[in-house]
């Protein structure tokens, strides 16, 4: 169970996320929709603590996540994997090493850390990475550089990396916004697969309402940092959308998602 309590993030005087309270049971697939700048990204980034909340609390299985530091914070991030609109792979490294990044926090002790800095991984870890790649039909690309892959392939590599973290949650920040429809479908199916088969809670920011309706168990709509709708896909009718946003659904979807804000992470 992931609980957000009155979660708020202010940038200057403006509240990007404004008092969001949600409770998400383990294993649910939740689509978060809303216009650009509605606070979807900030919300997801706060769960992973890439962005610090200004106020409010995040609880996972009753444990407070908001105050974690150092090793405990890294452990939390490992349990709550994240994928991004721009994939955030290391372009110049091969696909296998990119996936192995998911194991970095699973290696205890200074010697293992030293080995990781020399890009040395155990045969078991490599086998695990290859299995994960194989699951998403990318085993053949394992030794290619990430930059040689298409966007859809890169996003699946990112999901494979996330799976190597052995997470309980998967946060997906506009995972298909940079992809063509065919690749978008493949990536969304991969997300639903890890939700169904591995029992991960999946929180996914989406721009297309139809995509959200098709793949998610629950839809949360945001506007100006607040939750304005929270219910089943069936309840989010076109009339409901127009009532929430004041424009028809087609007009909402015609807006392009903004480029992701990539800032410094301390």
């Amino acid at each position: 169970m992931l609980e957000l309590q009155d979660l708020t993030r202010r940038f200057g005087g403006r509240a990007a996320v404004d008092g969001v309270t949600l409770s998400i049971p383990q294993g649910q697939m939740v689509g978060i929709i809303g216009r650009s700048g509605a606070g979807k990204s900030t919300l997801l980034r706060m769960v992973n603590r890439l962005t610090e909340p200004s106020a409010g609390r995040i609880l996972h299985d009753g444990a407070e996540v908001t105050a974690l530091r150092g090793k405990a914070l890294r452990d939390w991030r490992t349990r709550c994997a994240m994928i991004f609109q721009q994939f955030n792979l290391i372009q110049r490294l091969d696909v296998l090493t990119n996936v192995l990044v998911g194991r970095l926090n699973h290696r205890p002790g200074p010697l293992a850390t030293l080995n990781s800095l020399l890009l040395r991984f155990t045969p078991e870890e490599r086998a695990m990475a290859l299995d994960a790649l194989d699951r998403f039909d990318l085993a053949e690309q394992a030794l290619q550089r990430a930059e040689t892959l298409s966007g859809g392939q890169q996003q699946r590599v990112a999901i494979a990396r996330a799976m190597l973290q052995e997470p309980r949650l998967l946060l997906a920040d506009e995972p298909i916004a940079s992809l063509d429809p065919r690749n978008a479908r493949v990536v969304m199916e991969a997300l639903r697969d890890v939700n169904r088969r591995d029992g991960l809670t999946v929180l996914v920011n989406l721009h297309h309402l139809d995509t959200a309706r098709r793949y998610c168990d629950r839809i949360v709509a945001m506007s100006a940092g607040r939750v304005v709708f929270d219910g089943t896909p069936a309840a989010l009718t076109a009339a409901e959308v127009e009532a929430i946003y004041g424009v028809p659904e087609e007009a909402l979807e015609a807006e392009t998602p903004q480029a992701p804000a990539v800032g410094a992470v301390a």
């Binding site: 452990d75 955030n88 792979l89 372009q91 890009l119 410094a264």
Partner: protein, 252 residues
């Protein structure tokens, strides 16, 4: 600036020309390819080539060692000195200011101090050049890091990687080709630097150059300068070829 008069420039220029004229070797067509005891031959001009070649080798060695040592320290200091990845404001300020201090002091000043501490010889020269190199390369490395994309960094951090792992996995592969390029460029600069640093007793060809200049052995001055130019040009060509190859491949 107040002593910069056109008249003194006019008076001095011919004297400078005069000095360069004296440096010209006395070469004669008839005996150009004669032995080292024949006046007017190339061999006569470079009659101490064996000694100078050894000194030049020492100079290049000094430069190589100093570049590697300085580059290694610069690599470690560049990450805290890059604004986008510095772990804290304090670490940023300390490493930035430290690098600044190291490159503000000219290597010849370091050499003077270190010769006093370690005695006459190449060790003082290597340390002096390495110190200056750390400062100069550290800044360039840090700027390369600041220009890198932060997406991969977020990816590694979001996966639970430590700061050091993010530096290694997300940052180094992006900036390594740039860093190697800077390192090779610095090596060329350091060969020049190492040729001069011997003036204060810190080893290499400079000691010999200083000697012949102060003794007015004109032909030997030009011989040594020609040799230095040749060596620097050779290293230039070599590192250029290396850089071009690195741009193609390079998996860090």
């Amino acid at each position: 600036m107040s002593e910069f008069y056109p008249s003194s420039l006019a008076a001095g220029l011919p004297r400078a020309g005069d000095y360069f004229a004296r440096l010209l070797p006395d070469l004669r067509w008839a005996t150009l390819f004669g032995g080292w005891e024949t006046e007017g031959s190339v061999a006569f001009w470079f009659y101490r080539l064996d000694k100078w070649a050894l000194l030049l080798l020492e100079t290049a060695n000094m430069a190589a060692l100093a570049t590697l040592a300085g580059g290694a320290v610069a690599l470690l200091l560049a990450f805290p000195a890059a604004r986008n990845v510095a772990p804290s404001g304090l670490a940023y300020q300390l490493s930035r200011r430290g690098l600044e201090a190291m490159r503000t002091v000219p290597e010849i000043v370091y050499a003077l101090i270190l010769v006093w501490a370690f005695g006459v010889g190449p060790l003082a020269g290597i340390l002096a050049i390495a110190a200056h190199t750390t400062g100069a390369l550290g800044k360039l490395f840090a700027e390369a890091i600041e220009n890198a994309e932060m997406g991969p960094w977020e990816g590694v951090r979001a996966a639970g990687g430590t700061w050091a792992q993010a530096c290694r996995f997300a940052m180094l592969p992006q900036v390594a080709p740039n860093m190697v390029s800077y390192l090779l460029l610095r090596f060329e600069i350091n060969v020049r630097g190492a040729s001069v640093i011997g003036f204060v007793g810190a080893g290499g060809i400079g000691q010999e150059l200083y000697l012949v200049i102060s003794q007015n052995y004109y032909e030997e001055i030009s011989a040594i300068i020609v040799l230095i130019v040749l060596v620097v040009a050779m290293i230039d060509l070599l590192s250029d070829a290396l850089r071009r190859r690195l741009r193609g491949e390079a998996r860090a």
